[in-house]
Symmetry: C2
Subunit: 295 residues, 2 copies
């Protein structure tokens, strides 16, 4: 299968599995489930689940084994966007060209929809883990995901990002933000894919390095697109970082150096994946595709 077909295939697989988690909308909490589903189905690249699937397929053969973790990662990503878009945070009315959760359901509901998605992600992972024979590697994977999303991961990055608005920050702080706010939840799927797939401890370490490089490249590309991107392709307002006086990689080191940095990180990923040969061709293509992405 060529890269684009495989990408489409993975996205469809993720989307159809995600829907199964929201098919019960009969109870009193109907609006909550609907609002969670609204944000989960409001588009998005599905990068985190795709990375989990692709990493898993380097080592394992039964893709259903990784699906709950792939879906949980997308739910965690989605909850973080719902909370990030709130008036008290980034105050965004649109996300991926659609109204943000709180613009449709109200702020109170949006806070609870975010809480609900985070909590639900653990519920479904734990439910799956309890049914497995080799429970240890499953619990290890859930912990990996929890850590990447937590106070020393994504949430830690978000708080420092929030505090850094309207301030000039050091390279050290900027790295902390990028590594935690973004790279942590991109590293987790790659690691978890290798853990559930049965990779060796060395494989797991390699996947972690792939994640850190890819995650950093992804965030810097994001910051670049906020300057040179096309609003229609991005589905969101451009120039928000400058407007909010956010310290980004381009703001600190300039556009040209940022583009170079992304290229360098992309090369690192390619080198790390080389030993896996043809098996890693999808991840390699994805890596190069993300380097050029315009959305």
């Amino acid at each position: 299968m060529n890269f684009k077909d495989q990408l489409t295939n993975y996205i469809e697989l993720v989307n159809s599995h995600l829907l199964t988690y929201f098919n019960c909308k009969e109870g009193h909490n109907k609006t909550l489930i609907e609002s969670m589903e609204y944000s989960i189905t409001a588009g998005g690249k599905r990068l985190r689940p795709i990375l989990a699937l692709a990493s898993y397929e380097l080592f394992g053969t039964d893709i259903e084994q990784i699906m709950p973790y792939a879906c949980a990662l997308e739910m965690i990503h989605s909850y973080s966007l719902i909370h990030d878009d709130l008036p008290a945070m980034d105050n965004d009315d649109y996300r991926r060209g659609k109204l943000t959760n709180h613009k449709v359901y109200g702020e109170g509901n949006a806070i609870l929809a975010g809480d609900g998605l985070l909590n639900y992600s653990f519920e479904l992972m734990l439910d799956f883990a309890l049914k497995q024979k080799k429970i240890y590697s499953h619990v290890r994977s859930i912990k990996e995901i929890a850590n990447s999303a937590g106070v020393n991961g994504m949430i830690g990055g978000q708080i420092v990002d929030l505090e850094s608005e309207d301030k000039s920050i050091s390279e050290d702080v900027l790295n902390y933000i990028h590594l935690n706010k973004t790279a942590a939840l991109i590293t987790a799927p790659l690691k978890v894919g290798s853990i559930i797939g049965g990779g060796s401890e060395e494989d797991i370490k390699t996947m972690e390095k792939v994640g850190l490089n890819l995650g950093l490249a992804f965030q810097i590309r994001d910051d670049i697109l906020d300057i040179i991107g096309d609003e229609d392709k991005l589905g969101k307002t451009v120039g928000k970082d400058i407007e909010n006086h956010k310290s980004t990689y381009p703001a600190l080191f300039g556009l040209e150096n940022s583009i170079k940095k992304v290229e360098e990180l992309t090369k690192n990923v390619n080198s790390l994946l080389k030993p896996y040969g043809d098996k890693a061709s999808f991840l390699l293509d994805l890596n190069n595709y993300l380097l050029q992405r315009e959305f």
Copy 2:
């Protein structure tokens, strides 16, 4: 040990264990950890962790085995209060006589502090579970807690509560709110205590019934105190339910019937605990103490 001494003993045990989870405030995410600790140490009855300890001690002998779950339950309770107090939800400036999280740290931080506490509770439980020989019952307990806090538990109750403001609701909806918003996270510690303690499946079922009765009684007493309570003892504003046109048990059935209902539920708990004899004396005393509580 008499009831009051045992209660103090449990509270001190919980408080000292809770603190150990917040002793790292050196990193860039310092303010986040501080704000999480602020809410966790802002007082409170510690009812959920105490129930976990007391239930555990009916069956098990090494209290350290239940401590992470007791602490995690308090963190989940604390996160739910932080989010509940936000302007978009109940809009409370004070909680237990102290400024609410968002009044001290700002709304954005408070949203993240809540997210952080929920996520952190899973991190510490998973970390503990991975180190145990009998991992299954630990993972089962985490799932129990996750479910009780989730969209078909606490968060489900909160959304229906939020939607029901300024509306007259049926007894059915009121029960849904009480059972999910409050009783779920009171039932979980009792169940988890018996699971980790090594109780039989029948014991676990009994503890679940104890939780549902106790949880419902606790919530109705809460609603009663919002009418007849003393602001100084409660550490919060009285009359908020009537002001917000909240449908409560007293609003639907009157004050006298509500007091009778609490007495009836308290009696149910006493009957359920009777077969455990002297071992259950703390839980029995606690149950009767909660019936009379003024805070």
